[in-house]
């Protein structure tokens, strides 16, 4: 549990951080450190340079853009995602998601940007951000680009971020529609065995206007369940036969297989969750 020797650079601004990343090949950003430090200590990961972005105030900001989009700095902690009133008002599902993350200590230090970049298949934020159609802002010393979270996550612990590129902001289109977000794990603080984030809007006459559903801990990366979404859209919520939709739509999933749950069990749990959560949403029950 002693990391290999590395150089530590503390950035005071985004520009300085990007410059450090550019100047040091093999460097890596340290955000909250909640996944990175254990990896360093177990020597699973041995970067030569660490660029610390904990001391850059602008990365801790939460703003509302002129078009109504939420702009959340990469270094906003899980605790802040829960407590921040702008986030709670405009994307309550995101605050609810953060409540499920790990334990108090991790929520105090861990950050939304760090969690996204970690790209753990069982991570809590990813299904929610996918359901919200969120985007991330990636910067280098020369450029800036926006990528959908869904595209940014490439596979287990793999993202689109390139050398010298840093995630600086998460852009979340506001969503005040009815939602459910849950993770199932044996212990409260564990990574999910199955997780679901679902946003469903019903029209006054009970038709499904919008349905965005994503799941995590199932495949090598979290993903949207579009087959279910399209089966629901436009239907009268009372006439939906969920079991008939969920069964086939999850048939092709190839869930993870580890000590915490085999693929068949994970699929079983996911189906149960979807059936109950979507059932609640279709009946219009508020969270």
């Amino acid at each position: 549990m002693y990391p290999k020797s590395f150089e530590y650079l503390r950035a005071k601004s985004v520009d300085q951080a990007l410059q450090y990343l550019k100047d040091n090949e093999g460097s890596r950003v340290i955000a909250g450190g909640q996944s990175l430090l254990p990896m360093l200590k177990s020597r699973l990961y041995q970067p030569t340079v660490l660029v610390d972005i904990n001391f850059i105030p602008e990365l801790r900001e939460v703003k509302l853009g002129s078009n109504g989009d939420l702009r959340i700095g990469a270094m906003v902690t899980h605790y802040d995602v829960i407590e921040n009133s702008t986030i709670r008002e405009n994307a309550p599902i995101l605050s609810s998601t953060a409540e499920n993350i790990a334990d108090v200590q991790i929520r105090n230090r861990g950050t939304i940007g760090g969690s996204i970049c970690e790209a753990d298949p069982s991570a809590d934020y990813l299904p929610t951000l996918m359901a919200l159609d969120a985007r991330v802002v990636l910067k280098t010393t020369e450029s800036s680009r926006e990528v959908k979270v869904e595209d940014f996550i490439q596979g287990p612990f793999e993202t689109l971020a390139e050398d010298g590129e840093m995630l600086v902001e998460v852009i979340v289109p506001p969503s005040k529609a009815n939602y459910r977000v849950e993770k199932y794990a044996r212990r409260k603080a564990d990574f999910a065995i199955a997780s679901v984030a679902a946003i469903v809007s019903l029209s006054k006459d009970g038709k499904v206007v919008d349905a965005r559903i994503a799941t995590g801990a199932q495949q090598d990366k979290p993903h949207r369940l579009r087959e279910i979404e399209s089966a629901l859209k436009g239907k009268a919520s009372k006439s939906v036969n969920l079991e008939a939709i969920i069964g086939p739509a999850t048939e092709e999933l190839e869930p993870l297989d580890d000590l915490h749950g085999g693929p068949e069990y994970r699929k079983h749990v996911l189906r149960g969750m979807l059936s109950r959560m979507l059932g609640d949403l279709l009946s219009g029950k508020e969270a």
Partner: protein, 821 residues
């Protein structure tokens, strides 16, 4: 027994002459403020001048021949002063030997020699100037392994052509034996029903927050080895270090600062104490090693195994006899091999009157990692097997699970009760404990709730289990296979009590303080002897081998309340006697009229307390003003006293006791299983715990709750999982699941007091009861909840996925999932 009783009585009487205000009270733990402020001062907080650090290279293979080791790159690294391998160890040390097993391998050393036998076995060691350099150097050691066929199970180990873990023994079965008590044959021939089941136990372990920490310095100027270590059994460690590396025990000075959790795990540290000591002697520098979390999860655990149990039953539920055959994968650590089976004699027939039984055990070497005497050792599994068999027997006979326990309980009038093998249950009232548990748990109300929930389609169940919680080790089980009076025994300890020169009462129990409230408990007991408050007693929480101690000094086997308190009280009373004698001479007062209260020597005058002289003044005279010191007394106010619980029997195969006190408990667990994911939630948990006389009810509650949560961990969450190559797949706390506060139910403890006649204050064992009784209570509750699915739980941990696999093909499952999920 008679002489023991009278000396016990006199000790109790003497202590009761004091103010008697503190024993029995919920005194808040004195040591806690330091702990929560991070100022407890653990072994890792100590650094010596010119401190050097050790790191080990551990085997990634479970079974492999070591073809070659190249240490040259490691030695070239700046800051590295030593690298040793098995080659050096073979030259410089003696192999470890078996204690209970009659066979002893000759190839098992403190560092692997020529081959590795488990994943995580230390293969080479480094000493360097910093812990980072040491870790880097360990990584640079190049080992060429030739993987050998892995023995991954007891079944594999017993196959004819199985690879041998210790080839020199010609077998993987280190030891086996068979015992018969009563008339088993007759019992089975008279039975109305015979119930038979194979019950399994998995691999799990306690994981103290503080891992192994050792800091050793061999001082060449004094030719003395000074060691700081987080060690639970320092008396034994000194003996083992002497035997292994050849430094005489008279030249070993071992100090144990407060220990950050013991649980038995810290009994196994001695191997690394020996290694650090040897390396310090080789480099002439103090050598410190702090085990990492991953390293601490490699070993030492409880063994996995199974028991074939067969019960001969009468129609009314009476158990006429039982046959038990115990298989344990516990021989890949010859030092304590067979222990997990032999200690089962301490609670083999549980709280029940079962006169006829046989016990056979097989101690088998596999490539599982080593074991240690983890909380309760083999007793949790013994209780699990016995209590599950009680449930299965009740079900087979169609009688109630509570009823069968009532029918078989040892009747109160038969106490003290001698079990078939000779184990003496000195105290307790088992039928009353069940009665109180039914009341305390609101059992009847729970049954009604369960019926209501079942109608609503909810799966709710109730489990009940009883258990014996033995304390104080006679260590006799080691010698069931060997003749003579063993060199070690846990039935005695020594302690030191003094009034220091400043008049303060100071105690050193001279055993490791492992966080279980010893400081406060001792302070309460000693305060009552000297008539002061617990806060005024200075309890030194360091073990230091320069103080008087016995060769098996240590905090283990639930023995504190017996032998350490016995030693502390003996020393306290001797010292009080001396103080009153001195005071009597000085004051020319009748000795019998004097007593101690509020730091003064007092006497009653007209029924009013008169303070004659301060304790401080007596201390000044006793240590300094020797011209005033009375003739006929020795100066100084320090007493080291030893104490033995004399109820330990010599070892005879047909009549022996392995432990000397027996607490007991009844657990009632109420659970719900959720059919969406088959997760289990404990809705209520009620315990009746009888630990005899209780000194501090708060501390005893805490230990009952803590040990129960560790049992819940074993029942529902914790398991070291290995693949077929013997690779440990659970080397982080993300994969080895400890229950956290979020998973722990509210546990309600009702304390019952049946004092032990053979301990100084009537106290008994406290720290292991929950770990012993809870496994079966939880399993019984889950099984009861799943009754509509007709499943049988014979192994642990009960995970949601396992439940799903058990239920998914049942008619009930199909009924509730008829929509075709």
């Amino acid at each position: 027994m008679t002489s023991q009783k009278s000396s016990t009585e006199s000790l109790v009487l003497q202590s009761e002459k004091g103010t008697k205000q503190n024993v029995g009270k919920r005194v808040p733990r004195i040591e806690d403020l330091r702990i929560v402020k991070g100022k407890a001062g653990y072994t890792d907080d100590i650094e010596m001048a010119d401190q050097h650090y050790a790191a080990f290279l551990f085997s990634p293979y479970a079974h492999a021949r070591i073809k070659s080791i190249d240490v040259s790159k490691a030695l070239e690294l700046p800051g590295v002063s030593l690298v040793i391998t098995g080659k050096d160890i073979k030259e410089l040390t003696k192999p470890m030997s078996s204690r209970a097993a009659t066979k002893s391998p000759t190839s098992h050393y403190i560092l692997a020699v020529d081959k590795v036998r488990y994943m995580g076995e230390p293969v080479a060691a480094v000493v360097a100037r910093s812990k980072y350099v040491a870790a880097d150097a360990a990584e640079l050691i190049e080992v060429e392994y030739e993987p050998l066929k892995v023995v991954a199970s007891i079944e594999d180990a017993m196959k004819k052509d199985a690879p041998l873990i210790y080839p020199e023994l010609d077998t993987n079965e280190m030891i086996s034996d068979h015992f018969d008590f009563g008339d088993v044959k007759k019992a089975f021939s008279e039975a109305d029903k015979i119930v038979k089941e194979r019950i399994r136990i998995h691999r799990y372990a306690s994981t103290p927050l503080e891992t192994f920490v050792v800091n050793a310095y061999y001082d060449p100027t004094r030719e003395e080895l000074t060691i700081y270590a987080s060690d639970q059994q320092p008396g034994r460690t000194v003996q083992s270090v002497e035997r292994t590396i050849g430094i005489p025990s008279s030249r070993i000075h071992l100090i144990v600062p407060p220990v950050g959790g013991g649980f038995g795990y810290k009994l196994a540290i001695w191997q690394y104490v020996a290694l650090a000591s040897l390396m310090s002697k080789m480099v002439g520098k103090p050598v410190k090693w702090v085990q990492t979390r991953t390293e601490s999860l490699y070993a030492f655990h409880r063994p996995r195994g199974y028991m074939d149990a067969e019960f001969a039953l009468r129609k009314d539920g009476k158990v006429l006899g039982m046959k038990l055959v115990d298989w344990q994968a516990d021989a890949n650590w010859p030092y304590v091999a067979a222990l997990y089976s032999l200690i089962k004699f301490a609670n083999m027939s549980g709280t029940y009157e079962i006169r006829n039984y046989s016990f056979e055990y097989h101690c088998v070497a596999t490539n599982d990692p080593p074991i240690v005497q983890d909380r309760g050792v083999g007793k949790p599994f013994m209780a699990f097997a016995l209590e599950r068999m009680m449930d299965f027997s009740a079900d087979a006979l169609g009688i109630d699970r509570v009823k069968i326990r009532q029918v078989n309980s040892v009747p109160a009038e038969k106490m003290p009760y001698t079990a078939g093998s000779g184990e003496v249950y000195e105290s307790g009232n088992y039928p009353e404990a069940i009665r109180r548990a039914l009341e305390h748990s609101q059992f009847q109300k729970k049954l009604e709730e369960q019926a209501k929930f079942r109608k609503e389609g909810r799966y709710v169940g109730i489990g009940i289990a009883t258990g014996i919680e033995p304390g104080t080790s006679n260590l006799g089980y080691y010698f069931l296979s060997k003749a003579g009076d063993p060199d070690y025994n846990g039935a005695g300890q020594m302690a030191t009590v003094e009034v220091a020169a400043d008049g303060v009462v100071k105690v050193n129990m001279n055993g490791p303080e492992i966080g279980t409230g010893h400081v406060t408990t001792i302070a309460q007991v000693v305060a009552d002897v000297f008539g002061i408050t617990p806060e005024e007693v200075n309890v030194d929480a360091w073990y230091d081998s320069i103080h008087g101690h016995l060769t098996y000094a240590g905090t283990y086997s639930n023995a504190f309340n017996d032998v350490y308190l016995g030693a502390v009280l003996t020393a306290s009373n001797q010292l009080k006697d001396k103080i009153l004698n001195i005071a009597s001479s000085l004051l020319k007062e009748d000795r019998e009229e004097l007593y101690l209260a509020n730091n003064y020597i007092c006497k009653l005058e007209n029924d009013k307390e008169k303070r004659l002289v301060g304790l401080k003044e007596i201390a000044r005279i006793s240590y300094g003003r020797l011209l005033s010191f009375p003739k006929g007394e020795e100066p100084g106010l320090k007493v080291t006293a030893g104490y033995i619980n004399r109820t330990a029997k010599p070892f005879v195969r047909s009549d022996f006791n392995v432990q000397l006190t027996h607490s007991n408990s009844v657990h009632v667990c109420f659970v719900e299983v959720f059919p969406e994911n088959w997760n289990i939630k404990i809705l209520d948990y009620a315990i009746v715990h009888d630990a005899g006389k209780v000194i501090n009810p708060g501390i005893v509650d805490g230990l009952a709750i803590g040990s129960t949560v560790s049992g819940i961990g074993g029942a529902l969450y914790e398991e070291f999982v290995f693949d077929e190559q013997g690779t440990n797949l659970s080397l982080t706390f993300g994969d080895y699941l400890k229950p956290t506060a979020m998973e722990s139910p509210e546990i309600r403890v009702d304390q019952m007091e049946s004092p032990a006649p053979n301990t100084v204050l009537g106290t008994k064992a406290v720290g292991e009861g929950g770990a012993i009784t809870s496994l079966a209570a939880v399993a019984g509750a889950v099984e009861d909840a799943l009754k509509p699915f007709n499943v049988k739980i014979t192994g642990l941990p009960i995970t949601p996925e396992k439940i799903w696999n058990m239920v998914k093909d049942t008619p009930e499952y199909k009924k509730i999932n008829k929509e075709g999920q």
